[in-house]
Every structure is written in structure tokens, then in C-alpha cells.
Amino acid sequence: MNYPGFYPDLFRVTLPETALEVAALLVLVIDLGFLRKAALKVRVAVAALIGIAGCGAALWALQCTARSGLSFDGDVLLAQGGYTQVAQTGILALTILTLLLFIGSAFTRHAGEYVSVVLMAAAGGLIVSSAQDLLVIFIGLELLSLGLYILTAFAKSSGKSAEAAMKYYLFGGMSAAFLLFGFSYLYGISGSTNLNKILLASFYSSASGGAPLLYVALVLIAAGLGFKVAAVPFHLWAPDTYEGAPAPAAAFIASVSKVASFALLISISTAAVHLFDGVHELRFVAFTLGPPPKYLGLWIPWSLILTVLSAASMVVGNLAALAQISVRRLLAYSAIAHAGYILLGLAFFSHSNASANAILYYILTYGLTTIGAFGVVDVVQRATGSDRLDAFLGLHKRNPLLAAVLLVLFLSLAGIPPLVGFWAKFNLFAAVLGVSAGPVAFALVALAVALSAVSLYYYLQVLKRAYVMPAVDETPIKAHPVTMAVLLAIAAAVVVFGCFPALLQNWIAGF
């Protein structure tokens, strides 16, 4: 078959990804070709700056491309505009921040390779967040995941890093298999790999009694994607990976990869909900077929699965975090809990943009905050050699600015106003109740709010050591100036977006 204009279109739509890949190759060439003899500091700085320039070019390309998306034979492969563009901008911005953190955290001699892998993973993230076709989704996810496995293992001299990468890889391979298995069922049911066509087909299939197979497919897909967002019970990799991976890589995994995965979940939920707009077809089916089916389309089973994952993640994440003594593991369990809140927003998803906007707001601000948190943990860990709670003792004396940043970020994660974390939760819960004010939605929101009260306890455990308990060692902790500047900028953003929540909301709603 010949589709004139497809390749020019492809190039036009994937210009940001192309920019990232070019930058990735450029980093390798320059670092390995020209800077062999340069000092490590210089190489790290040059590599990171090229990476940042690549992200900048991609951001620019993102603004310039038309918002029509890429279609093949009438089916949309890559979407553009709307929530996709917000997520992609977020991915690029957060990638820039993690690259900046890398400058101050030279844990490896392989600066060029590190930045190159980060850029390729980010390109995978861009594809994931715009993909509307099962094959494209899978390719994007693999590009992203392979990058993450390598990044986790990047601290080559650390046994923990290798162990974490191995666990992550094994779990990841397994979940990718589940995901593919689920996709194959969907393809079998619908005969198409396009999300919208699948959902249309599933609509007829459920109406004619093919529902159990749909359930199986959806459960398998939820298992695959639940792994990506670290939802209980597919979360077991998260604590080990967060603990073992080098800090900038952990920050990347906790932020960029989460943004991409949740953007994908938004795509699926949007498509699933969307079908209910086709009221005419609903009537058509109801009149032409026999006994009424229990449900139509994918929405009800999908929502049910997400609800279960959400409740389990909120409860397990928050309760397990209470018992942690390693701050990185604590952040991992808190990430699981936050994923639970977001899944709640996906399970009660609205036709309008309200839910998608609330979820994007949450995941972008969460990504920003968690990058900052990993930045602080990294500085402390370099100075004390440990990420235990006790490593934070007396931080307010050892580095008052760093302690202040920690205070702002952790209180934001706990959802204390007027920091941005509060508005994220608030928007999300309001969106959930806006979709359904029934007892189930209400009970789940009540559970989420109650558990975020619980979460204050473990965040305060860290802050208590930083501010309250007496210091064992009072030698000052020095942070790299770039790291410090990034952390201060993040803390300032958390405060400013918190005091003026409309800034970010309007920006997201503007796409």
C-alpha cells in the first residue's frame, strides 16, 4: 500500500522525539570523540548541557508542530495537542531538571552514555504519552523501560544498583509479557490495534456476550500498566529500585516515567469513557439484540479494576511507608500512595477535561516535588553515606537552606496548603466527586483524605530529624551550586504554584 504524505507527516509529528534522538547521538559523539582526555567535571557538564539543549529543541518543536496528530489509514497513531502536549511538555521540563541534578551528582565516569540513555528514555516517554495504537504504545513503553533499566544499573560500582536493576528488569519483563498478552486478546476481540476501534468493537462484543474475555484482557493490561505506575499489587520493584538506583536516575524514574505512564492511562480512560457519548449506537444495540447485557464497552470493568488498584495502593503505600527507615524507600512507598490517589481520578473519569486536567496537574506537580526530594536525599547521602532517617539529624544546622527545601517539599507531598501538593489533591478529589457523588466515590475520597492525614506522620518523621532532634554531627553539608540552585527553584515553584494555583491550572486547561 502506498500512503503519500505519511512519511513527511511522521517526521513532522515526531520532530520532538527526533530532536531528542539527535541530541542523544550528539552527546555520544562529542563525549567519546572529543572529550576523552577532559576532566570528568567538564564532561559531565558538557553532556548535561547538550542534553538540556536537546530537550529545549524538543520543547520548541513541540510548540511549533500542528495539532493534528499522525494517522495511518484513517486511524490515529500519535495524538497531539490537549493532554498529550501538556504531558510531553512536562516530560521534557522534568527531564531538564534531572539532567541539571546530574551535573552536581557525578556518580559515573560515563557521562555521555548516561545523558544519551536519559534522552532516549525521554523520547520513549513522549511516544507513550501520545500513542493511540497498541503497537505504538508497546514500542514506546519498551523504549522507555529499557532506558530505565540501564539507568537503574548505572552506578556500576554499587551492588545495590545492580540488584535494583535486576529486580526492576525481571518484574518489567514479566509485566511487558502480561501487557502483550492482554493486547493480543484485545486484538483478537476487535481485529484492530487502534484504541478507538477496539473500544467500539468491545462495545458490540460485550453486547453480544463476549464480555468475560474482555475482562481477562483488561486485567492483563492493568497488570502491565500497574507495574509502570507502581500500583499495588504490582509495586514490589519500586522500593528496591528507588533505593538502589543512582539519585538522578531514581528521580527520572519517579517523575518522567510516571508522567508518561499516567498520560497513557489518560488516553485509555478517555477512549473508554468517550464511547458512552455514542448514545445512538447504544439504542441501536439495545433494540436489535436479545437480553440486555450487564454492561457495554470497556468502561465499567476498566473503572472497577482501577478502583481496586487505587484503593489497594493508597492503603498499602501509606501504611508501609510508616515503617520505613530508609528515606528512599519511604519515598517509594509514598509514590505508591500517590499513584493510588491518581488512579482514583482515572477510575472516576469525566467526559469533560476536568479529570484529565486534574490528573495532569497532580502528576506534574508530584514529579516536580519528587525530583526535588531525591535531590535533597542525594546531597545528604553523599555527605553522610546513608539515606537512613538518622542521616538527616540536625540538617537545619548542617545546611539550613537544604533543610528549608526539604520542609517545603515534604509538606507539599503531605498535602499541606498553601503548597502545590494540596491543590493537586484538592483538584483531583473535587474532580472525582464531580463525576460521581455516590457513596462509593465518596467513601474512596474519604479514604484518600484520611490516608493523607496518615501520611503526614511519616513525612514528619524526616522533618523531625532535620529540625527537632539533636544533631550527632554538626559539620556543614555542602551541596553543588547547580544542585542547590535547582532545589531552591523547585521549592520556590512549589510555593508559588501553591499560592497561585490558577497559574498552572490555566496553563494546563489552555491546551
Binding site: H396, F422, A437, A446, A450, L456, Y467, V468, A502
Partner: protein, 507 residues
Amino acid sequence: MLAWTIYLSFAGALLQALLPKGRNDLARWLALAFAVAGLALAVAGFVAGMGQGRVIIIDAPWVPTMGIHYLLAADGISRVLVLLTGLAAVAGVLFSWNIELRTNEFFAFFLALIGGVYGVFLSFDLFLLFVFYEIAIVPKYFLIAIWGSTRREYAAMKLALYSFAGSAMVLIGLLAAYATSGSHSTSLIDLAAYAHSGGLPVSFQMWCFPLVFTGFAILAGMWPFHTWAPTGHVAAPTAASMLLAGVVMKLGAYGCLRVGIWLFPHGLDSWGFTLLGFIGSWRDVFALLAVIGIVYGALVALAQTDFKFVIGYSSVSHMGFVLLGLMTLNQIGVTGAVMQMFSHGIIAGLLFAIVGRIVYERTHTRQLDELETMHLAKRLPFAAWAFVVAGMASMGLPGFSGFVAELQVLVGAWTAKPWWTFAAGVGIVVGVAYTWRALQKAFFSDRLPTADEHPKTGWHNLGAITWPEYAGVALLTGVSLFVGLYPRILLDTIEPAVKALLAGGGQ
């Protein structure tokens, strides 16, 4: 003008945080300057607001997509409580003049807390109020955990978790109300008008009201959720316990009134059936809890061996009067409740200052048994007489602010249900007893130490009373006496606001 109390306090907090270490005197004077400026604004706002109804200070869209406004306004109740906050802030700074550990950080948290409190009293938007309410929680934790005494980390965490649990309940209730009303405004004025015109279903109000009310009442020290209060008060440094008892517990009571009662007018309606023969509505339930709090707090205070615990439990008892006053739902009872908020804020601040700062910082013990052997009336006559005055005010003797407040609550309660008055009356009698007992043991006992008691703890030089202490005691006793002798000055401001609030809002 009143809005600047908020901004000034936060600016002061920021300035203190940025102050270089070791400039303790500068930090103190700066804190005093900011607190006095806040008080001056509060007084000016109070005087300017006399005879006026609700005045909108600023109304700007804040989160337009959700209809949230940055809406600050003041009615009579707000103005009185803002005045109380200003007084408590100045007194608090005066009584923490001797803080040497991380002085600038102490005042940074202190002023941040004060800023949050001003914000709550002036917010007329549902979620703005909630934001300020939560801002006040975190500084409390650090004030107690860093500068506190007895089991401070435990007490601070307990207080923070109780507060946060309470605010979680409030948030759930507010979200539900927001979703149910389906309105595009979260202004309390609009929502109250909506609720009073029958917008919110009665059945919804019936379950949402107790949620919100209990959430706020936790911070007001309602029995049986009061246990954070005595431990928190005892562990806190003097200024923090003054603020806790003085204004933070008022935040809870204010929330109960401003959000709970105003927004859910039918939440207190009769259920249509009775439990145990006398509980037929949420109003009966909360009134019962308030009365239990009054009597229980007083009885427990009577049995304490630690001087500060006596005051801590007396706060629970006195806050019971506030809640009881709210539950009368009549003009005089609710006015009395607001009056009691003001009066208890002043008197509890004074009591905590005497016990925590003037006595404890010199004797290094708060055990009544040990204080007995120290003959403080002779050695610290100023403290003794200050406590006599504060104790009389606390017992509710005529001439002090407490008398006017409690009398009105009791009259209101009599109008509503006479048995409430009898039960609360028991609390007043026991109140006389525990105050008398503490006074006698701590100051006027002439028991000599027995052989196995170590007299050395008591007989070191006690140190002279410093000027900030004189100034603080004079300020607080002066205000209590002035309001007691001339209650009209507050009542004229409170009464119209309460009337409007009970009628549904529009002024």
C-alpha cells in the same frame, strides 16, 4: 486594613527565618514590633468596625475553575477574635523574651502561626478558611517539638495528628458540600444563603454537619477528643501554650460556628426519634459532650499533681462552655460562646504565662507537692497576686470577662434546655475548687519540706521579675478586667453579627 495583620505576620516570619544566627535581641524586638503592629491594626479595625456589619476587605478570584475566591471580610465575631489574636501575639512574644535556643526560628514559627490564625478569622471563603486553618498546624508541631518540655516530641506529634485528622474530616465534609451544592461559588456568604434557602438537602446536612463539626471541635478540645490538649499544653513552651489555649482552640470553635452552624442550618434539626429518652438530635449529642467536657475537665483538673496540667484541663472545661453556648442556638447563648472564646483566650494565656514562664522558669518544677514547700507567696509575691487575679477571672467572678461570658452561656442554655445549666453549674463549682486548690498549694502553703524531700530544689535564688513579664501580666489582666467591667464594648460588636449569622447570613 485588617488584612495586613495576615501579611505582616507572614512577612515577619519570613524575616525571622532569614535573620542571621546569634542576633537574639534583634529577633525579639523585631517579633515584638510585628506583634504590636498586628495588635494596632486589630484595634484600629475593631474601632473602625464598631456599629458596622460585615465588611468585605478584598474579593479576588483565586482558583476560578473551582469558584474559589480570595475573600477576606470581617464581621463582629471576626473583629473580636482578631483583637484576641493580636493581644495573644503580643503577650506571647513578651513571655518568650527569655528564649535563647534558635531564637529567630522560634519567632519565625510563632509569627507564621499567628498569621494563619488571623487568616482563619478573616476568611469568608470556605476553602480559603481551610487553607489558613491548615497553615496553623505545622508551626505548632515545631514550636512544641523543638522548644517544649515534658515528652515534647510525643505531645507535638499527637497534637499534629489530631489536628490533621480533624482537618481531614473537615475537608471531606467541605468537598461533599461543594460537590452536593453544585454551585460555582465557595464563598461562605453565598453557600450559607444557599443552604438557608433550602439548597442543601436536609438528609445531606444531617450527616455532613456532624462530620465537619466534629472535625473542628477536635481542635476546640471537645470531649472525648480533647486528649491532645492537656499533653500539648504541658509540653509546649510558654508562648506556644498561651497560643494553643488562647487562639488555636478558638480556631476550632470558630470553625464550628462559622462553617458548621452557619453552613448546615438543618444539621441540628431533630432526628425524629430519641435515644435514651433525651438525645433527639445532633444538637443534644454535642451539648451532652460539651457538658461532659465541662464537668470532666474540671474534675480531672482537681486531681492533677502538675501545675500546668491543672491549667491544661481547665482549658478543656472552659472550652466546653464555648461548645455548649454554640449548641444553645439562641442569641444570648451564642453571644456568650463568642465572649467566652475571647475571655478564655485572655485568661488561659495569663494562667499559662504565670505557671510556665514566671514560676516554672524559676523553680524548675511544676509539681504542686514540691511547690508547696517553696512558699512562693513570700518569694514571688507578684506571681502569687497575678495568679489570684487570674484565678478569680478563671472562676468567673463578677468584674472579670469570664463572668459575663459564662453567665450568658448559662442563660442561653437555660432557655434551650434547663438541665444543661444544672450540669454546667456543677462544672463552675468544681472550677472554684481546683483553682483554689492550685492557688493554695502553689503559692500560699506554708508546709516545710520533710526530711526526705530535697529542699535544695526550691531554695536557690529565684530571680527578679523582668519587665516583659510585668508588661505581659498587666496587658492581659487589664484587658480581662476592662472587658469584665465594660462588657458592652465587645457585646455591641458581637451581638449583631451573631444575630445575622443565626438568621442565615445576609446583613
